[in-house]
Amino acid sequence: MQCAADFVPDDKKSEQILRKRAELLAKQETEKIEKLDGVTFVRFRLGPHEIYGIPYSFIKEIMGHVPLTKLPSVADFMSGIINRRGALLAVLDLKKFFSFASTEYEKNSYILVVKNGGITIGILADGIEGSDTYDPAILDAPLPSLDAIKPEYLLGLHKGVTSIINIEAIMSDPRFLQMMK
């Protein structure tokens, strides 16, 4: 019996050619988007007014409200774990991570599933406000007064309203890395 796998060339040479071709295709696509359109990001809300952005290249999925399971003796900014299609996903509370004054979430909160450097986490959000695109070259410097978020956690301010979050900085923060020891 023949099956799909039979049509896949199995000699090394063809495989190499195909791989190179695939890599080439994949590369051009992303570069083009960044050059022509800047970086697209998802806009989300923490608290009643503040808008934040995370580039779509980090976003795996946006989930509606899922019940959280608390874990004992973990950092307070880890709100717990959720069941994401059979896998246990750790959920980060940015309000606590940034030390906001109020850390309550709205009833119908969302979870942004974010992946960076092989680690996938969820990030709680009060609301999803849509998408936008920023040009990395012309982001404003983050406001120093902004609810005391350390500037290194932000890439910059988009159009004076949206703080673009530096996911890499958050996920390599000492407090974050501490958990993996």
Partner: protein, 809 residues
């Protein structure tokens, strides 16, 4: 060049597997040769086999550039040739040297993989091998090394071709495999694709029956049996990664299946609800009709008829759905269970892979101790999960060493007892349902129960009173306690004092257990029972702080429903008595630092006694929900190391239930200082009827002892560790009697007694002074400060303390 690296890795891996097989063949052969020559029989055929194995290793090792292994193999080969030609006698020393060389080859391979130079004396070993090999040369000038004589190479280049029929081995001569392997390396540098083909060809050759060459000589079946067995079935290699994926999907499917089961339950309920509704509906309509006259009644009937019809339709549909779903669900259950079983079995490997190394171990240990031992292994083709097999390796090895060292007597002793001089050990493996039993028996001296009891007593493993209440079986179990070792002079073979307790804890980790049966003078048998696999576990589901948790059933010692007065106080923390031993009690919410749920109705306290090895702790929970099969999922990064959490499992509805880490939990429970607050006046009233005693002693042992004695008598007992602490307690609580030691820091017993007797409020409180000093002077001092009674510690056991307390109250 990534591909080439990958290919190199592959070929090295292939060689590693081959080395494993060939060194095992040499080991088996050497042991056989030794055995045969001891009985004065000819070992020529085994010799041919070990020689061939060494030669094969040499060829392959040199081919892929594992020079050190190649060198050792080369020297071994020369030595084997010399033995074969009867130039060198195969003494136990020679066998020892060869076995060492075999071990070194394996080690050298490890170093090669790690890309490090070997850390042992390779030159020395090679020189030793060469010396042995050439020791016969003087006697026979005609002898030559295999490298020098082309004819020898020919016999050396035989390859084993396995026929389909098991138990038979064929040998064929392949023209020049040695140069071919070299060609492989040469080609390796340039054309990886081509070399792979060659390698595949050579690999294929081993199993392709068509390529059989006429057999030049028929080798005996003995050593070849194992290799032949592997070709009994057609097999393919599947990577562990793929297997893991299959198991993971299987788990996912199981979870969904459980969810479907839950939905089906709902459907069953809906079905009976609609049936009931339909019936009451009909009844109501006819009742309604009876209220009105015929004409209106008819109209009502008409009005409701269409509804009734629809209702019937719905009921029928639901009923049909229920019935067909029932059939499918049953089918699904059967299939998914069968599939799960198959997936589980996929991961099992034959126990023979472990057992084949044991004769060597037995031989080495026996030689070391100057004992003669035969070993008989029956694996009954049992298969077991790799993890379990790896886990049971050490316990089995240890029990074997123990059997040879402690179990089997010396040849002289055996002779004197009329037993055969050669001791016998048998290892039997049996599958029993979901378990595999390893039965290890020796025909040695057996275990002397009284000797065990003596040793345990001497080493303070048990107290005399504990011992008296134990039966022989329980006493036998004492050898698994840590710190136990019966033989007076500790040898380096066994008896390092960390033996048997490790056996037990290893087995407990594998969710297995060990039993002993022994007959004095006849021998001892150990039964090691382990589960076939660790993939699924049973877990006890409990709730605390409004969340569900799982405690793996294997670590649950007992589940209790306690009354509040069952909680006692030992060393200022709470405990419960389990078989008269205090076990620390702590609430799960406190251990996890979760907010405890205010539970007013709690009349009975649900407590789970958890255990890990010898450690026990009692954990108070809000509710015990039940037990079920669980699949533990590990937490993922970044939450790798969460204290007290071993992972999580998903309920049928996808809810996460945290699986608790028992080791952490016990540690925390034992160090917790938080006491459970029981805010119930009722218990106060109940317990108030009992006299409340204060025991003051700086020795924790005496404290615990006095407390135990008095608690058993039905008194409530509080403790303090010195006079000062006791005085503080006396000021705040109401006691009926004080038992105090004399020598204590901060405030001694005399001072305490004096204070009590001089106090207005406490002056009438009876005080018993306890001391190890039985002198008249002390008694007088005691009386002078106003003590009501005086007791010497040595009188404790006679019941004097209880008598005095009863008298004074």
């Amino acid at each position: 060049m990534a591909l080439d690296d990958e290919f190199l890795k592959q070929i090295i891996e292939t060689f590693r597997a081959e080395l494993e097989e060939q060194t095992q063949a040499i080991t088996d052969g050497l042991l056989e040769i030794e055995h045969l020559s001891q009985q004065g029989q000819d070992s020529g055929e085994s010799m041919v086999r070990v020689f061939r194995a060494a030669h094969n290793i040499k060829g392959s090792a040199r081919g892929i550039g594992v020079v050190d292994v190649g060198e050792i193999a080369h020297h071994l080969e020369s030595l084997f040739l010399a033995i074969q030609k009867k130039l060198v006698v195969c003494t136990p020393e020679v066998v020892n040297l060869c076995l060492e060389a075999v071990d070194r080859m394996r080690e050298a391979m490890q170093f090669f993989i790690k890309e490090k130079p070997v850390d042992f004396d390779l030159e020395g070993l090679l020189a030793e091998l060469e010396k042995r090999a050439s020791s016969g040369k003087v006697a026979d000038a005609n002898s030559e090394t295999p490298e020098a004589e082309p004819a020898e190479i020919k016999t050396a280049t035989e390859e084993i071709i396995i026929e389909e029929k098991p138990q038979e081995e064929e040998i064929t001569i392949v023209e020049t495999p040695l140069p071919k392997v070299e060609k492989t390396t040469a080609a390796l540098a340039e054309k990886p694709a081509e070399t792979e083909v060659i390698v595949q060809e050579t690999l294929l050759k081993k199993v392709k029956p068509e390529e059989k060459a006429p057999r030049p000589e028929s080798a005996p079946a003995v050593g070849g049996a194992e290799m032949a067995k592997s070709s009994e079935y057609e097999t393919i290699r599947v990577s562990l990664y793929n297997l893991d994926r299959v198991s993971a999907y299987m788990e996912e499917m199981q979870i969904n299946k459980i969810a479907i089961d839950d939905h089906y339950e709902e459907l069953v309920k809906l079905n009976s609800k609609t049936k009931q509704f339909s019936q009451t509906w009909k009844k109501n309509v006819s009742d309604l009709k009876s209220f009105y006259d015929k004409e209106i009644g008819e109209n009502i009937q008409k009005l409701y008829d269409s509804n009734a019809e629809r209702l019937n339709d719905i009921t029928a549909t639901i009923n049909k759905m229920h019935k067909t779903m029932n059939a499918h669900i049953n089918e699904l259950t059967v299939l998914s269970n069968a599939l799960q079983e198959e997936v589980r079995v996929l991961r099992l490997i034959p126990v023979s892979t472990l057992l084949r190394n044991l004769p060597r171990t037995v031989r080495d240990v026996a030689n070391n101790l100057g004992k003669q031992v035969t070993v008989n292994i029956k694996d009954n083709d049992a298969k077991i999960d790799k993890i379990v097999l790896e886990g049971i390796k050490d316990p089995i090895t240890h029990l074997l060493r123990n059997a040879i060292d402690h179990g089997l007597e010396s040849p002289e002793q055996r002779k004197a007892k009329g037993k055969p001089e050669v001791g016998h050990i048998s290892i039997d493996v049996k599958e029993e349902g979901n378990q595999v039993v390893f039965i290890i028996s020796d025909d040695g001296a057996g275990i002397d129960v009284e000797k065990i009891a003596d040793t345990a007593l001497k080493k303070n493993i048990v107290s005399k009173s504990e011992l008296e209440s134990m039966n022989d079986e329980e006493i036998m179990e004492l050898i698994f306690r840590s710190g136990f070792s019966t033989k007076e002079n500790v040898t380096d073979i066994s008896g390092r004092g960390v033996g048997m307790d490790v056996v037990k804890s290893n087995l407990t980790n594998l969710r297995g257990h060990v039993n002993i049966s022994t007959e004095l003078g006849k021998g001892t048998t150990f039964y090691l029972r382990v589960p076939l696999t660790l993939a699924t576990e049973r877990g006890l589901i409990v709730s605390s702080s409004g969340q569900l948790f799982v405690i793996t059933t294997s670590s649950v010692g007992r589940v209790l429903l306690l009354n509040k007065h069952d909680i006692i106080e030992v060393e200022k923390s709470q405990a419960i008595l389990l078989d008269n031993h205090p076990v620390s009690l702590c609430s799960l919410a406190d251990i996890l630092n979760f907010e405890a749920k205010k539970n007013a109705k709690a009349d009975k306290l649900p407590v789970v006694v958890i255990r890990k090895g010898q450690k026990l702790a009692a954990v108070l929970v809000d509710e015990i929900i039940g037990e079920r099969e669980i699949v533990i999922k590990p937490l993922q990064a970044p939450l790798i190391n969460v204290p007290c959490v071993a992972g999580a499992t998903l309920s049928g509805s996808g809810e996460i239930i945290i699986v608790l880490n028992i080791t952490d939990l016990i540690d925390k429970a034992l160090h917790s200082r938080k006491n459970i607050v029981i805010n119930n006046n009722k218990t106060e009233q109940v317990t108030n009827n009992k006299p409340y005693l204060l025991v003051v002693d700086d020795s924790p042992t005496t404290r615990a002892f006095s407390k135990n004695v008095l608690t058993n008598r039905g008194y409530r007992v509080a403790v303090a560790s010195d006079g000062k602490e006791a005085w503080e307690r006396l000021k705040n609580e109401k006691f009926s009697l004080v038992v105090t030691d004399v020598e204590m820091p901060n405030m001694n017993g005399f001072e305490l007694t004096e204070r009590i007797k001089k106090s207005d409020s406490l002056g009438k409180l009876p005080v018993i002074i306890v001391t190890s000093l039985g002198s008249e002077e002390h008694r007088k001092h005691g009386e002078s400060v106003g003590a009501d009674a005086y007791i010497v510690k040595s009188q404790f056991e006679s019941g004097e303390l209880e008598r005095l307390v009863t008298q004074l109250l």
